[in-house]
Symmetry: C2
Subunit: 287 residues, 2 copies
Amino acid sequence: MDAAEFLAQKAAATERALNDYMAGWTEAPPGLTEAIRYSLFAGGKRLRPALALGACELVCGVDTPALPAACALEMIHTYSLIHDDLPCMDDDDLRRGRPSCHKAFGEAMAVLAGDALLTMAFDAAAQSGKIAIIQELARGAGVAGMVGGQAIDMDSSLRAIELPHLRSMHAAKTGALIRASVRCGAILGGATTVQLGAVTEFAVHAGLAFQITDDILDVTGDKGSLGKKTGADAARNKSTYPALLGVEESRRLAGEAAGAAIDALAPFGGAADAFRAVARYTVERDR
Amino acid sequence: MDAAEFLAQKAAATERALNDYMAGWTEAPPGLTEAIRYSLFAGGKRLRPALALGACELVCGVDTPALPAACALEMIHTYSLIHDDLPCMDDDDLRRGRPSCHKAFGEAMAVLAGDALLTMAFDAAAQSGKIAIIQELARGAGVAGMVGGQAIDMDSSLRAIELPHLRSMHAAKTGALIRASVRCGAILGGATTVQLGAVTEFAVHAGLAFQITDDILDVTGDKGSLGKKTGADAARNKSTYPALLGVEESRRLAGEAAGAAIDALAPFGGAADAFRAVARYTVERDR
């Protein structure tokens, strides 16, 4: 199976599960639900749910036990995009080729839609019945994870930073939730300690490859494919891999990280071919 | 025990638990932790934690099993205040007598501090080991609860609304988290179905009394005691109990709700005296 087919299949399963889950929101104000659906069903790659579902399938043969975590991960990712786009944060008017949430619904509603997605992500995750999943998600998205990385990024965006600092900022800002994605899936599939260790190692390297590639695409990418502004990092004077190391050296590092991700999958043999394809996809994609 | 003594005792226990919990945040960026601590330790009443701890004590004799929920509830409440104060929301410069979070740390950091508190609340709650607690919190704070009520409030703030609408808006915006507070405490204390029903009934009425009194204090209160602007609801043309019914009729309704809250405690006999005092306090307080 190639990465595109794998991602498309897992995205479809995630979207069905998200729709089923939100069908239970009968008491939510329609305006709030509309703003949430606008951002949640905007054609995202669904990478994090795919990693959760794929990790579950890898350890137990089916992906359905990971659906509550898959929904929660995409809700958390979507909330982070809505809040990141706010005028007081990155001030982006465009997201996935459409007006960002606050441009379409106003700033106050965008704040609330993000808050609601983050809150309900834990309700969705609770359907797994496992406290370990709540902890993985909260820590991946929390002060030592995604939000923490965002705070570091904000602090350092106006001055040049060194490579070790950049690496640890990215490990928190995007790496921690990607790591939580595979761990949630593996835990819900009943992974052994060795299996959990192997997928965690895979995720750490794949997450790094993904982030370096994001930085490169911001420099070299096509606005039409990306659905958002390019050159935004440079315009904000943000430290990125290409800014620190140049595009060629960044590409080499991303390729090295993707290779390390693939190496980590050795214990699974052929069953991990989809994840190997995903590791290659993280560096070869154009959006 | 009078309400002030009860609240002070539970506030002290909550603050110790919050400090212990946050001592584990060794990997959080210092700037983010500072903004969070500024808002979390700002002399709040700690009403929601007190309700959780009190409900736990009421059903099992000790309050310690409810400490993870108490921390989570105060973190959720604090996040909601930080985001409510943002310029795009209520635009309040003052909170508990000090500059609000975004005035002290900037808007971006205030958004992130709120996001971090909401996220980590679920990590704190997970320390209870009970998925039912995660569900109570997510639903109390979610689209059919606090955030949903906030979205309704925003929608209706520019036009007059009717009493049934106002009541259901408040039931979501403040009532749902107060309801979740006592339910979490009772569940963690091992409540029977009858006990859980009784404390839930208490919380619904006490929450209404609390909110009506908040509305009244916004009209009649003293800025010094409240630590925030008064007359803010009227200035924003918000529908409130005093605006719809006048101050006297609002006081009568609040008293009636406090009475119903006290009636709901009958099954507990003298053990519920602290909660009876809290019900009276909700309508007699000056802040």
